[in-house]
Structures are given as C-alpha cells and as structure tokens.
Assembly symmetry: C2
Homo-oligomer: 142 residues x 2
DNA sequence: ATAAAATAGTTACCCTAGGTAACTATATCA
DNA sequence: TGATATAGTTACCTAGGGTAACTATTTTAT
C-alpha cells in the first residue's frame, strides 16, 4: 500500500477548490460551511465542540463564527455556563443551508454516479474505519 | 451519500498534520515531500510537470523547488529546451527519500493494519475511480 | 468557604501555503 | 520572421491556521 496517502491527499486540493467555488456564490467557503453543517446536524453548539470536531484550535473557530455572524447566518445565544457561547442558525442561515446543501449534494451525486452502490458503501465504511483508527492513535499520543 | 465530502475531508487536517510532524525531523513538510516523491517516481522532471500533477500553480512549485535546493536535496539541470529546468535528486536527496519513505510507510501500515486486504483493495480502487471522474469533469469545465 | 486549577472564548501576532499579474527568456507556429 | 505560446520567476496578496497571553467564569481540592 505504499503511496496510499499520496493517493488520498491528491484529491484534496481539487475537491476543496471545487467546493469553495460552489460556495462562493453565497460568500461562503468550505471552512465556514463546516460550521453551518455542524450546528445544522448537532443543534446549537459551543465553539469548543466545533473546534474539537474539526481538529482546529479555538481561535480558528472564533474567526469562522465571526464571519458567519457578519453574514447574519448564525447568532450567539447565552448559555447557562456563562463562559460558553452557544451558536445557532438564523432563519436566513437555514435558508442558505438548504440552498448550499442542494448544490453540494448534486455535485456529490455527479462525482459518485459512476460508482456502484456496493463500491460506495464499502468506500464509506473503510473511510470510517481509517478515521476511527486515526483518532484512537492520535488520542494515545496526547 | 449526503455528507460524503464532509467525511472525506475531515481526515485531511489530522493526516497532513501527522505527516508534517513526521517529516519535520528532516526539515521537510508534506508539500516538499510531494516534489521529492514525484521525481523519485517519475525521474528528473520539469516544474510544470509537477505543478500539473498536484494541481497547483507554477509559482508554488518554484518555491518548493527553491526550498529543496537550499536543503541540498535536489539540483537543477539544464534541459535541451532551454526554457525548462529539469530537477533531480542529489545523493543526499536519495538518502533522505529512503529515510522518509520508511517512516511514512510504517505510519501507513499502522493506519491500515486493521483493514482486510479486500477492504484496502476496494478502497484504493474506488478512490482511483473518483479521482478519474473528478479530473474528467474538471477538464470539461475548462 | 475559598484559593487554585481548569475551561470557554478572544485578541494580537506570526506562519504556511497558495494564487494572480506581470515579467523574461526561449521555442513554436503561421 | 513576426506573432503566439510556454517555462519559470518575482512581487504582492489572501486564506486559514497556530501559539501565547489574556479575561471571565466554573470546578476542584483543601
């Protein structure tokens, strides 16, 4: 399996560029989309939750959240723990989510349509296993 | 398959960070490693070849090549086409390649050891198919 | 109960890596 | 041979992330 990572990583740039292009229509980038996606799928969330999820540091999420707030796509809410700021989608945020979701899904379909259901399932499953392995190893090191 | 890209892309940052960490011992980063890897596997090459391979612009490769030259891992050679600069590994470059290759392979093995041979084969194969699809679509757009 | 340690978030500053535009030198095409 | 294309470089800019130091608040331990 030599060169496996090369293979895996080579897709990254073209993919992220295509997604950024796709999202630019809404003044979004993929890194901002991740935040929207997260709170859409996990409900109102704190910044630290999101940072952990995407393996980035807190200041990066602060910046992303500020950008999204300026776009009026999310809003901050007070939490019972007053250190925390819970963020949630605004109605506009929900709208934009839906539009982007549609575009991304159709792009995903276009990229996947030549694969069989089995290939997709297996690929997805193996990716999950690698991810799990990765996080467990990483965890041990810390 | 909604959220497929999320899944795929989420692995990127931890993976690239781990590889950069691994390579830092030799004052390398993954982006520099790509260049070394390319000329090791394709022989002496021009900058444009490498840029195309990794979907980056020429100035990025100029920078990478300069960095590698300062590390004495590659050297420039005149080409028959005097616009081109053909770069190749120095003996030191070959050495460093071998050391890094060993480290990366062992890391790869650690990440993959819990997968069956079949899972690996399928994953690899599907990844290739997605990549091909991607490049053919991208090509059409231009 | 309270002092010490931990946690959430922010700010300021820096780094990596890439992109674009404009340029030089050389090669190819018409 | 003049026009066009290509390889590479340079200067400048941008995106996005990291670290350290800080404030505010909460939790833990004595």
């Amino acid at each position: 399996m030599e060169g496996f990572f090369q293979h895996y990583l080579r897709l990254y740039r073209p993919l992220i560029n295509a997604l950024n292009e796709l999202l630019s229509e809404y003044n979004l980038s993929y890194s901002l989309w991740q935040v929207i996606y997260y709170i859409k799928h996990n409900g109102p969330s704190t910044l630290v939750e999101i940072a952990k999820r995407y393996s980035v540091e807190k200041p990066s999420i602060t910046r992303r959240v500020n950008a999204l707030e300026e776009l009026r796509l999310i809003e901050k809410r007070e939490s019972r723990d007053r250190r925390e700021k819970v963020i949630q989608l605004t109605p506009l945020g929900e709208e934009i989510y839906a539009s982007c979701r549609k575009k991304i899904s159709s792009f995903e379909r276009k990229m996947m349509e030549h694969l069989t259901e089995d290939e997709l399932q297996n690929f997805f499953h193996t990716l999950s296993k690698i991810q799990q392995q990765f996080y467990s190893k990483e965890g041990k090191q810390q």
